[in-house]
C-alpha cells in the first residue's frame, strides 16, 4: 500500500475519484516521520496529536497547488515544523509566558507525560535539548536524530547551510556542557 511514489500519489490526488484514497495513502506513508518531528518539538503526545492533525488538514488544503518544485517530503516537513513552532508560540501568547517558562513547562512534561519512556539517558538528552534556543534544538533534532543532510534542513528551515553548521556545532557544545554539569 505504501509503495506508491510521490508522483503517483499526486496524480491520484488530482483525480476527484481517487482524491480521498490518495490522501489516505499519503497520510499513512508520512505520518510517523512527521509525528516524531513534531513530537520532538512539542514534547507532549496530546499536543503532537493536535499539531499533526492540523498539519494534515493544511496539507489537504494546499496539496492541489503543490508545484513539485521541492520534494513532497520536504514540503510536508516544512508544514509540520511550522505548525509545531506556531503551536508553541500560541501557547506562549495564551499563557503570557516568556520563552524560558515554556521550555520549563516542556521539561515538566518530560517528567509527567504518560507517553514518556523511562530511558534515563534519552530523557537526560531531551532535558539538555530543552535548554537550547529553539532554532538550535530544531537543527540538532533534524541532524542528530533524523540524520538529515544540511541541504535538506536548509530547504526546510530556509537557513543557509553555513548557519546550520554553526547552529549544530553550538548545540553540541552546549549539550556536552549541560551534561557535564549535570
Amino acid at each position: 500500500m505504501d509503495n506508491h511514489t510521490d508522483s503517483e500519489l499526486l496524480v491520484m490526488f488530482r483525480n476527484p475519484e481517487t482524491k480521498h484514497y490518495a490522501f489516505n495513502l499519503l497520510v499513512r506513508k508520512y505520518q510517523e516521520r512527521l509525528y516524531w518531528q513534531v513530537r520532538k518539538i512539542v514534547i507532549s503526545h496530546d499536543d503532537a496529536d493536535d499539531v499533526i492533525q492540523n498539519t494534515f488538514l493544511k496539507v489537504w488544503g494546499g496539496l492541489e497547488n503543490f508545484r513539485e518544485d521541492s520534494q513532497l517530503f520536504t514540503w510536508l516537513y516544512r508544514i509540520a515544523t511550522n505548525e509545531a513552532l506556531t503551536f508553541l508560540k500560541k501557547k506562549r501568547t495564551k499563557l503570557l509566558l516568556p520563552i524560558v517558562d515554556v521550555e520549563q513547562q516542556l521539561a515538566r512534561t518530560l517528567e509527567g507525560d504518560p507517553f514518556i519512556d523511562g530511558d534515563s539517558t534519552a530523557l537526560k538528552l531531551q532535558k539538555a535539548l530543552l535548554k537550547l534556543p529553539e532554532k538550535q534544538r530544531l537543527v540538532f533534532n533534524m541532524k542528530y536524530f533524523e540524520e538529515m543532510k544540511y541541504e535538506e534542513i536548509s530547504e526546510i528551515l530556509g537557513t543557509s547551510v553555513g548557519a546550520l553548521k554553526a547552529s549544530f556545532h553550538h548545540a553540541v557544545k552546549k549539550i556536552e556542557k549541560f551534561l557535564e554539569e549535570d
Binding site: Q31, E32, L57, L110, F115, D117, D119, A122, Q126
Partner: protein, 142 residues
C-alpha cells in the same frame, strides 16, 4: 556523543495510534468540508433576495423621509422669501420726510442729553475761571 547516547527517543504513543490517525484525519477533513460546503442555488438566491429587499426598504425609507420633510422645507423657504419681501417693501414705503423728522428729533434729544451732561462740567470750569480771575487781580494789586 553518539557513543554516550543512542538515538532512541524517550517518547511513546498510545497503542494503535498510527493505525487510527489516517481515519481521524479523514474525519476532520470531512467535518471541515461540511462547514465549507458550497451553498446551494436556493441559499445563494435567498441571500441575494434578502440583500435586494433590504436595499429596497432603505430606498423606500429615504423616499418617504424626503417627501414627509418637503412641506417643512417649503415653509421655511416661504418664510425667508416673505421676510425679504417685507423688508424691501418697507424700505420703499419709507418716506424721506419721516426719516428727516426722526433724525431731527433724535438730534434734539441727544443735544439736550449732552447739555444736561455738560452743565456740571461747565459750571466747574466757569467757577475755576472766576478763581483764576480773582487770583490775577490779587497779583495785580500789590
Amino acid at each position: 556523543m553518539e557513543e554516550k547516547f543512542n538515538k532512541k527517543l524517550p517518547f511513546k504513543v498510545p497503542e494503535g495510534y498510527f493505525d487510527n490517525l489516517p481515519l481521524r484525519v479523514q474525519e476532520r477533513i470531512a467535518a471541515t468540508e461540511t462547514q465549507h460546503e458550497p451553498k446551494s442555488r436556493w441559499v445563494t438566491l435567498k441571500s441575494q433576495l434578502a440583500f435586494a429587499a433590504g436595499f429596497a426598504f432603505m430606498a423606500l425609507l429615504s423616499y418617504l423621509g424626503y417627501y414627509m420633510a418637503r412641506p417643512l422645507m417649503a415653509d421655511k423657504k416661504a418664510v425667508k422669501t416673505d421676510y425679504v419681501e417685507i423688508v424691501s417693501r418697507t424700505i420703499y414705503e419709507f418716506d424721506d420726510i419721516d426719516l428727516y423728522k426722526a433724525i431731527e428729533q433724535k438730534k434734539k434729544t441727544d443735544s439736550l442729553k449732552e447739555v444736561y451732561n455738560e452743565i456740571p462740567h461747565r459750571l466747574y470750569v466757569r467757577s475755576s475761571n472766576c478763581i483764576t480771575i480773582i487770583d490775577e487781580k490779587k497779583e495785580i494789586k500789590p
